[in-house]
């Protein structure tokens, strides 16, 4: 499966329809500076929200204007591969929460995924042409998954993580989402990557919650039920999905 459109064109089309004259001029100049000297991204990146706006971006569900503008700036970077990953980590490391979320969301785009399609191709295991990041953005994903900020965690479990995280890391990421209340619908590629071991971990989690007399988040069940055998194992027979009401 490959991407059919160009992420730069998709972002530009969406931004064009939204930015006012001032925002357009700012972004154009900022792109020019970044394309000429990659390090300039460190200077322009923080101002994207103030200059372009922070509202939802029409045509790209789940994206805000500042996130798209920041992704566009990162796409202008001349670097590739490991040097690109290192520079992105620097932008992320010194970023505020909004900047960090933008870097996390841009990883899939830098890997060639089309943001308009939610990076579905990457999440489903495809490799888009034109991707120039490879696995070099993984340190950023891992850092975000260690935080306790649900906004960062949700941005981290996008198509890039689905495409690149190792199995054990992916399972821990899903578990973390369940623990902090990030809905599993936010986890890209979950259908493809939900394996028996993840089902076992979630079944154990459900049991722990049940024994403690607490609610079990509803979204763990579809994953568990894909591997019904994990419920038959010793110690888990007393855990059942509650009957749906209505």
């Amino acid at each position: 499966m490959t991407s059919t459109t160009d992420p730069v064109r998709t972002l530009e089309a969406a931004l064009d329809g939204t930015l006012d004259e001032r925002g357009r001029r700012w972004l154009e100049q900022a792109i020019g500076r970044v394309a000429e000297r990659g390090q300039a991204v460190l200077e322009v990146f923080p101002a994207a929200g103030r200059s372009c706006g922070r509202g939802p971006l029409p045509g790209m569900p789940g994206w805000t204007v500042d996130q798209a503008a920041r992704a566009r700036l990162l796409l202008a970077l001349p670097q590739e591969g490991a040097p690109l990953g290192e520079l992105l980590f620097d932008v992320y490391r010194y970023g505020d929460a909004a900047e960090r979320i933008a870097v996390l969301k841009a990883l899939a785009v830098l890997d060639g995924a089309d943001p308009a399609e939610g990076g579905a191709d990457l999440a489903e295991g495809g490799r888009a042409p034109g991707g120039r990041l490879g696995g070099h953005g993984l340190p950023i994903v891992r850092d975000a998954l260690r935080t306790n900020d649900t906004r960062l965690i949700e941005a981290a479990v996008g198509p890039y993580a689905a495409g690149h995280l190792a199995d054990d890391e992916f399972r821990q990421a899903v578990l973390k989402c369940v623990f902090v209340g990030v809905p599993l619908s936010a986890v890209a590629g979950l259908d493809r990557r939900a394996d028996r071991e993840l089902a076992r971990m979630l079944a154990d989690y459900a049991r722990e919650r049940t024994v403690a007399g607490r609610d079990v988040p509803q979204d763990v069940w579809p994953v568990v039920e894909r591997h019904p055998e994990v419920m038959q194992d010793r110690g888990r027979q007393d855990v059942h999905r509650p009957e749906r009401i209505g």
Binding site: L42, E43, P46, A47, G49, R50, Y94, D96, A97, A98, R100, T147, N148, D149, T150, R151, I153, L175, K176, F179, V180, G181, R214, D215
Partner: protein
Amino acid sequence: MRIFDPHIHMSSRTTDDYERMYEAGVRAVVEPAFWLGQPRTSPDTFADYFDSLLGWEPYRASQFGIRHHCTIALNPKEANDPRCRGVLDLLPRYLAKDGVVAVGEVGYDSMTPEEDEVFAAQLALAIEADLPAMVHTPHRDKATGTRRSLDVVRESGLASERVLIDHLNELTVAMVKEAGCWMGFSVYPDTKMDEDRMVTILKEYGTERVLVNSAADWGRSDPLKTRKVGEAMLKAGFTAEDVDTVLWDNPVAFYGQSGRLDLAEADPAEFYAGNTIKRGG
């Protein structure tokens, strides 16, 4: 009563405080970067602290319906440690952030030559970043320190209406008013100001350019002192509008000069089951 606490160190407070503050009417705070009790020994720990003021703390505040902004600086006490001087190199990067509404706390602790140098350098950074500045006045030899701070501000070229001089008292308020800077008062259980003395100062000097804060931190302090000053003002015959001027309009006007104050209603996020904060697994 809507309250904007223009100076409070929330990193040292618990979630109970956020809840009590919200109940008392606090809807916005500014957390100035300062020292943490234990001296730091490298710029890296400052970077982590600044990240917290721009990441975790506003996120935590938002879960309790409170907007959180910060000021960023190398504080005067740690300016004396040569190992921390590298913080100055980090500052331009942090002063560019959306959540930063001033350079601060800058100023004097012991009035050393190192403090002189770092204070002046940071006022220059404020001009460069187009931000106001928030000046801490020393606890020891306060009147001298305040006078000297006003001199440094004058020499910096930063407009006086873009400067807040904080921790004032009966002996230092007049010179700051005369200089045209904003006047900050920290109301504390034991030290600094108390509610009744604050009301007396407001009667004498008026409400214009006056900010009241709790400066609550890890020491004996009370994050509800702003509310208590509001109540003391009403009891002393000030109108509700006067209280609103001091506890909301003035901080909004001062920090609003940054162009970065965002007071869009903060919705308390849903609490994670049985826990007061989403702290994760």
